[in-house]
Subunit: 180 residues, 2 copies
DNA sequence: GTCTATAAATAGATAGAC
DNA sequence: GTCTATCTATTTATAGAC
């Protein structure tokens, strides 16, 4: 029984990791349940033993993706806001497919098209993000501005086909945060 | 002949206006060609006399939407960047369904999931946006930062289910631009 | 150029065997 | 819990009448 429970947990984990990756790069609508299950090396039918709907999966996958993205942050406890911005607003974060990206930036306009449950999930993650920035600035308004420069800067940089402009944008956002 | 040509132009215009509105609020995947044509009071079959594909429509609808959003800007020639930010980062721009919204913010992460043609279109519109900011600041880097605070701020504010936080975010972005 | 009808593919979700 | 099979609905795109 304990073994079964743990096994189920691992299976669910595998589905969530697959979903987090596929959703982050393609959004909710472009990814099918079938694609997620294939990535997790399972079949469609097994899906509903773990999630009650595609929206349910999306919500949980965003949380999983945010946790995974956290592991990429600079780990020293005295890392400055500038340190965090440097990693967050990097070309690697923008381009590297195999590293878990931050769903706050990769899915921002996708979220505003989803139901209230999903917006609640996004909002909670965003609050955590701002709180982390707040530890460095001790100023709620600056924390919000930094969050927008990071999340918004990365999101826009991903939509631009002009790579020079995209790089300039990342740099400009870093500098704005450094000047805080 | 001239009459027919003009009539076709008007029909296409109606399709584009319908598409711009529906796409801006729901993204590319959630809107079907059928929905766009119904909004324009036409049927599916007529669509392909005007556009070669759904992607083609999307690209042209983004341009149309950006032009429509322009008409909402403060019109005085000596409007400051703060004036523009005040309208752009307003609750009305965020919430009002019947006013044409800026696709740069409403579709930012939707665009990064689309093909190169669409990214090119988005990039051109973004460059125009930054150039307008540049007229006020005379500083390319500040223009980029202002653009991120406006577009990113509005985009994130739309994804938040906590209205107080969403409003605070808009205000914080306005203040950051005012301090430039 | 616009219509109706339809082709062809794919989606989310469920049923039942093991 | 996972599988195969299937239901039902929806999608983009095309064909042909008017």
């Amino acid at each position: 029984m304990a073994w079964n429970k743990e096994h189920k947990q691992q299976t669910k984990e595998k589905i969530l990791v697959s979903a987090a990756k596929l959703f982050a790069h393609n959004g909710f609508e472009k990814i099918s349940i079938d694609q997620v299950m294939q990535e997790a090396k399972l079949t469609r039918g097994a899906f509903y033993a773990h999630f009650k709907s595609k929206s349910d999966l999306y919500s949980q996958a965003i949380i999983k993706g945010a946790q995974a993205a956290q592991t990429r942050k600079p780990k020293n406890s005295n890392a400055s806001l500038a340190n965090i911005a440097q990693y967050y607003l990097s070309q690697t974060h923008r381009d590297e497919y195999d590293e878990p990206p931050c769903p706050l930036a990769f899915l921002v306009s996708d979220i505003s098209q989803q139901n209230e449950d999903i917006k609640n999930t996004y909002t909670q993650i965003f609050k955590g993000f701002v709180n982390q920035a707040n530890e460095h600035t001790e100023d709620q308004q600056k924390a919000l501005q930094s969050a927008v420069l990071m999340i918004g800067g990365l999101a826009i940089s991903r939509a631009l086909s002009d790579e020079d402009l995209s790089n300039d944008l990342l740099t400009a956002c870093q500098k704005a945060i450094n000047e805080f």
